[in-house]
């Protein structure tokens, strides 16, 4: 089969984490709210109302543009993007056109084991549209219901240059983007809830020297659906070309259930947004000193942190990647290390037991009751062989749900505390004294007898001893008794 060159550009919209809308002071906490409760004349487009810019939205957009290494333009201008749709009460969306917040940036991330750079064309702010529903008990036939609660919520749009060449790269870019907007507190990046949305421009060409015809793919609601939709669309375009056909420039919608993209042709051909500067909003001058102030608030970003974890804590690329993807996890890890500087040990606990418990409970680390102090206390006890790994895992599970210190949980669950090897030695000796037959069997060469003795000690300690320690203690006692 002939070689094809795949080119992908992504446009991502993220809802900014402001408390109020972009041009009015209605609240943004719309999930689960009754329709049309977070509304006012501005966001419902009532004639005569005037927009007033939300300072915080602009600040978060600049912060995002800086994280993506953009040049910040000295002047931000708002344009009207005109189109008719019931979720857009003014008949236009306030967006940006030739003077966005930032241009010419880039982002780097790991993909398939190597570091990749994708150029960022622009970062701009705009307002979100309302929501439509088409079904509901009692909704008149052939009609839709409009809810303006989401209308006017600030979005930041991040547009790449066509530097992405496979669905895998697109997915890894999105994972990095999401991680970054969460790190800087610009957005919660939740794709399933619609606070992160992604459209893709995809083309396939038989030659690396020229681009193929671009198709826009929309309506992808999860990272997985972006991956599947791109994969499908690339194969579809290759098939068209192999059959001697031509790819048509068009918009296609991803149908999640059917697992295919469907042409939306004909519907948007009248699309002509007639952008013009919004006369209701003055251009905003962005002062270099303000940009500097915002830049100071940028935290260490995920890629830098990942690379630092690799050198400073000697973690592998993948371990450091998992630990730094979420800022709270990385912060938690480093808080543990401040109390107990054994990165390897803490990393192992984080990547296995901590993440497992978070997954099972389906919560974030900040929602769980566990603290760096209590995790470290637990790891130290296992490290000193005061409790066994198995017991520690049980205690950890309990810490996630009800919180508390290790010793409190042990008291609550009636787990006794094997303070030292001395205590275990005593128990081991007791087991030997009580089971002379097994001792004789072992000394006459029956390996199995040792396992029986280990079992006896485990029973006497109610499973709280570390079996390896018990084994070595028993061996020591048995050889000294010879």
């Amino acid at each position: 089969m002939a070689d094809f060159y795949v080119t992908i550009g992504l446009e991502v919209h993220c809802q900014l984490l402001t408390r109020t809308k972009m041009f009015c002071q209605c609240g943004t906490d719309y999930i689960g709210k009754a329709p049309n409760t977070l509304v006012c004349p501005v966001c419902m487009g009532i004639p005569g109302s005037l927009p007033v810019l939300n300072e915080k939205a602009l600040e978060l957009a600049i912060k995002t543009a800086l994280a993506f290494r953009c040049e910040i333009l000295p002047q931000v201008v708002f344009h009207r993007k005109n189109y008719f749709y019931p979720d857009l009460p003014k008949g236009y969306q306030i967006s940006q056109y030739n003077f966005p917040v930032g241009v010419n940036g880039f982002v780097e991330f790991f993909t398939q084991g190597t570091k990749k750079r994708v150029r960022i064309k622009r970062v701009h702010v705009e307002e979100d549209a309302g929501k439509l529903i088409h079904e509901g008990l009692g909704l008149p036939p052939n009609s839709s219901g409009v809810d303006f609660n989401r209308c006017g919520i600030p979005l930041v749009e991040i547009v790449t240059e066509p530097d992405i060449h496979s669905p895998e790269e697109a997915r890894d870019y999105l994972v990095m983007l999401r991680s970054m907007v969460r790190y800087i507190g610009a957005s919660d990046g939740n794709m399933e809830e619609g606070s992160l949305r992604c459209d893709a421009n995809v083309s396939v060409s038989p030659s690396p020297l020229e681009l193929g015809t671009k198709v826009e793919v929309k309506n992808m609601n999860s990272f997985r659906s972006v991956f599947r939709a791109l994969h499908y669309e690339i194969e579809r375009q290759k098939r068209v070309l192999l059959e001697g056909g031509m790819v048509i420039q068009e918009t296609r919608h991803w149908d999640e259930r059917e697992g295919m993209t469907v042409s939306a042709r004909g519907k948007e051909e009248a699309e002509d947004y007639r952008y013009f500067p919004d006369p209701d909003l003055l251009p905003v001058a962005i002062k270099p000193e303000d940009v500097e102030e915002i830049e100071k608030t940028l935290p260490e970003l995920p890629l830098e942190r990942r690379e630092r974890f690799m050198t400073e804590y000697e973690l592998t690329e993948s371990e450091a990647g998992i630990l730094t993807q979420e800022k709270d996890i990385a912060d938690f890890f480093e808080a543990c290390l401040r109390e107990f500087r054994k990165p390897r040990l803490v990393c192992n606990w984080m990547l296995t037991e901590v993440l497992k418990n978070l997954n099972e409970l389906n919560i974030d680390i900040m929602q769980s009751k566990i603290t760096p102090g209590s995790l470290v206390e637990l790891i130290k006890m296992v490290d000193k062989k005061e409790i066994s790994g198995t017991i520690a895992k049980d205690i950890l599970e309990e810490m996630f749900v009800s919180g508390g210190k290790v010793k409190e949980i042990m008291a609550r669950k009636g787990i006794s505390f094997i303070t030292s090897e001395k205590e275990l030695e005593r128990i081991a000796r007791e087991a030997i004294e009580k089971n002379p037959q097994s001792v004789a069997d072992y000394l006459s060469g029956k390996e199995k007898a040792l396992h029986f003795l280990i079992g006896q000690v485990m029973k006497m300690t109610r499973g709280q001893a570390d079996p390896e320690t018990v084994k070595s203690l028993l061996l020591k006692e048995l050889s000294s008794g010879e």
């Binding site: 402001t18 408390r19 109020t20 009015c24 002071q25 209605c26 609240g27 943004t28 009754a34 329709p35 049309n36 409760t37 509304v39 006012c40 004349p41 419902m44 007033v52 810019l53 939300n54 300072e55 915080k56 939205a57 602009l58 201008v77 005109n82 008719f84 749709y85 019931p86 929501k131 439509l132 529903i133 088409h134 509901g136 009692g138 909704l139 008149p140 052939n142 009609s143 839709s144 219901g145 409009v146 809810d147 303006f148 619609g194 309506n219 609601n221 919608h253 939306a264 519907k267 009248a270 002509d272 007639r274 013009f276 500067p277 006369p279 909003l281 003055l282 251009p283 905003v284 001058a285």
Partner: protein, 101 residues
């Protein structure tokens, strides 16, 4: 006077603006719009080589609002003006062309 804007272009603009006209009205606008465009051509004679485009004539910093939510209590009034309301939704003729998330 030569036509600056064709009748087809005018119809496209009307369609984009969701405006419908009788044939007579359309011809009247056709003439008006062409006169307006002709006037712009006259403005084009000005030498503006060293002047950057102006969209706003004020240079003051625009007002901004703080990020503190306030509640507006007038939505009931808006519902009263809406032709159809169902369960607090404004009801509009169904638009099926575009998929909704």
């Amino acid at each position: 006077m030569g036509e600056k804007i064709s009748l087809e272009e005018l119809k496209k603009v009307a369609q984009l603006a969701k405006l419908q006209f009788e044939e007579g009205e359309l011809m009247r606008f056709f003439q008006d719009v062409n006169e307006i465009v002709a006037h712009f051509e006259k403005l084009d004679q000005l030498d503006l080589r060293d002047v950057s485009p102006t969209s706003h004539i004020s240079w003051s910093q625009p007002p901004v609002h703080a990020d503190d939510p306030t509640e507006w209590k007038g939505e009931e009034k808006v519902f009263q003006h809406a032709p159809v309301v169902w369960n607090r939704y404004f009801v509009v003729p169904r638009v099926v062309e575009k998929e909704e998330r």
